[in-house]
């Protein structure tokens, strides 16, 4: 017992600067279905991410303001209201206005396949549709999002 304890304590003490990935998970727009967003938040937490969850009915302005104050590396939006063609590009626009173009924007929800290329062209990094496994999203975040320098 004592051996394991001593070893563990020593191994965890020397601290090198270790950034954690910080991601804002938000629900913009008017739909009130936040189960998906909460499941993603939980899965990312379990993957070691610090998730800032901002709750329902966010405007793009609120999301970008929170992202700036929290200095996040990525933003994940859940949109089930059909307003994705407005909300995603508006968030991109605001990020650029605020010189936050390096923040990775991804999202998911009820989004027709036909809309996805347009969103990606506008700067959304990735759009997940129903049927995506949680593991795919976690893998994507781990692969694509790095803590900033």
């Amino acid at each position: 017992m004592a051996t394991a304890k001593g070893k563990g304590a020593a191994a965890s003490t020397p601290k090198k600067a270790a950034r954690k990935i910080r991601i804002l998970v938000g629900k913009p727009g008017l739909d009130g279905h936040d189960r998906g967003a909460k499941i993603i938040a939980r899965a990312l937490r379990d993957a070691g991410v610090e998730v800032i969850y901002t709750g329902l009915h966010q405007t793009p302005e609120m999301i970008v303001s929170a992202a700036a104050q929290e200095d996040v590396d990525g933003i994940g939006l859940s949109i089930l209201s059909g307003a994705h063609n407005y909300l995603f590009p508006r968030v991109i626009e605001l990020l650029r206005e605020n010189k936050m173009g390096d923040v990775v924007l991804f999202g998911g929800g009820i989004i027709p396949d036909a809309d996805i290329p347009k969103l990606v062209k506008k700067g959304v990094d990735r759009v997940f549709t129903p049927g995506t496994t949680i593991q795919e999203i976690v893998d994507y975040v781990n692969r694509r999002i790095q803590p900033r320098k």
């Binding site: 020397p14 270790a18 070691g48 966010q58």
Partner: protein, 336 residues
């Protein structure tokens, strides 16, 4: 005293983005961030700091939200540091305090920073004091620190904040809870939130009884017990009046100097703790001593007490501090 660097100047000029980045860097223990903070330290000490603590679900975030609204109508700028727990198993965290503070999301007079405890105990994160200092240097009038809400032993906050609010709710435990040491001893003001619930009067009476059992000399602060219903903004104005009264008390010369010294002590001790442990272990490792010592301990040929004594006795270089003559340097170290 270290001069303010470029990043520090931007923060003093009110650049919130620069402040946000510095806060993240401090939380992530980036060495350059410490350099910036050294320069900013001289510019701290103007903000009034309010600690908000209480059990999970007692309504801390909702109350912080209400307090913020009232402070904004009084024209005060507000910084909020909201702390949530890090998962001890994965290192991840869900920081959800913003959910209840959304009405301030677009108010430039309010800056909200969510922090994860990252293994630190005592209700705060290791970086909390640093981040409060940044908000102070930014010029925030009032800084609200919402603790993680573990409930019984958040003693660190008491040294950091000018005024400590302890939130209790009816129906959480019997009267034994009210006489437990720890959280109940740190309150400058007790708040019985969710006061429309059954048992609120009883909770209030129990705390009042407990408070009245304490010994107070003439002029001592005696914590008031105030009912609120944060969900409907009932009682917030009265709570802020009590904070004002406590502020007058804490700003009395003898109380203020005691508070400032205690706060300085916590700041120094916390930083020393992190630095010294890190340095001691790194030094042992650099000299190739760490692994052999651990192996000896594993085989019971050495004990950690003797090793620690040797390390502590040999590594303190107080002569270096004396050479620098603390308090008489070029800096403005003259604070009584």
């Amino acid at each position: 005293m270290t001069a303010v660097n470029a990043a520090g100047k931007e923060i003093l000029a009110g650049n919130t983005r620069a402040a946000a980045r510095l806060m993240r860097d401090l939380d992530d223990e980036i060495p350059a961030a410490i350099r910036t903070l050294k320069g900013l330290y001289r510019h701290t000490g103007r903000a009034y700091i309010i600690g908000v603590t209480g059990a999970p679900g007692s309504g801390k975030s909702t109350l912080v939200n209400r307090i913020t609204t009232h402070l904004r109508t009084r024209g005060k700028s507000v910084g909020i540091v909201a702390i949530d727990p890090t998962s001890p198993f994965t290192g991840g965290a869900i920081l959800g305090d913003r959910i209840r503070m959304q009405q301030h999301a677009l108010d430039e007079g309010v800056f909200i920073k969510s922090l994860a405890t990252r293994g630190h105990l005592g209700g705060l994160s290791r970086s909390t004091i640093d981040i409060v200092n940044v908000m102070d240097a930014m010029g925030k009038d009032i800084i609200l620190i919402e603790t993680v809400g573990v409930g019984q032993d958040e003693v660190e906050i008491v040294k950091v904040a000018h005024t400590n609010l302890v939130i209790v709710v009816p129906g959480l435990g019997d009267d034994i809870q009210a006489i437990k040491a720890g959280i109940l001893e740190i309150a400058d003001i007790f708040v019985v939130n969710k006061a429309d619930r059954d048992g609120a009067d009883k909770a209030q009476r129990e705390i009042e009884t407990m408070v009245s059992m304490g010994e107070y000399a003439e002029g001592d602060w005696k914590p008031p017990v105030l009912p609120t219903i944060a969900a409907t903004d009932t009682g917030t104005a009265g709570l802020l009046d009590a904070v004002d009264r406590h502020r007058e008390y804490i700003y009395q010369e003898k109380n203020l100097s005691r508070y400032l010294r205690e706060k300085a002590r916590v700041e120094l001790v916390e930083i020393l703790k992190t630095r010294l442990i890190g340095k001691a272990v790194a030094d042992l490792d650099a000299h190739g001593l760490l692994d052999p010592l651990l192996a000896d301990m594993a085989k019971k040929r050495m004990d950690p007490y003797s090793i620690s004594e040797k390390v502590v006795n040999h590594s303190f270089a107080f002569h270096l501090l004396n050479a620098g003559k603390p308090g008489s340097g070029k800096g403005r170290g003259k604070r009584r």
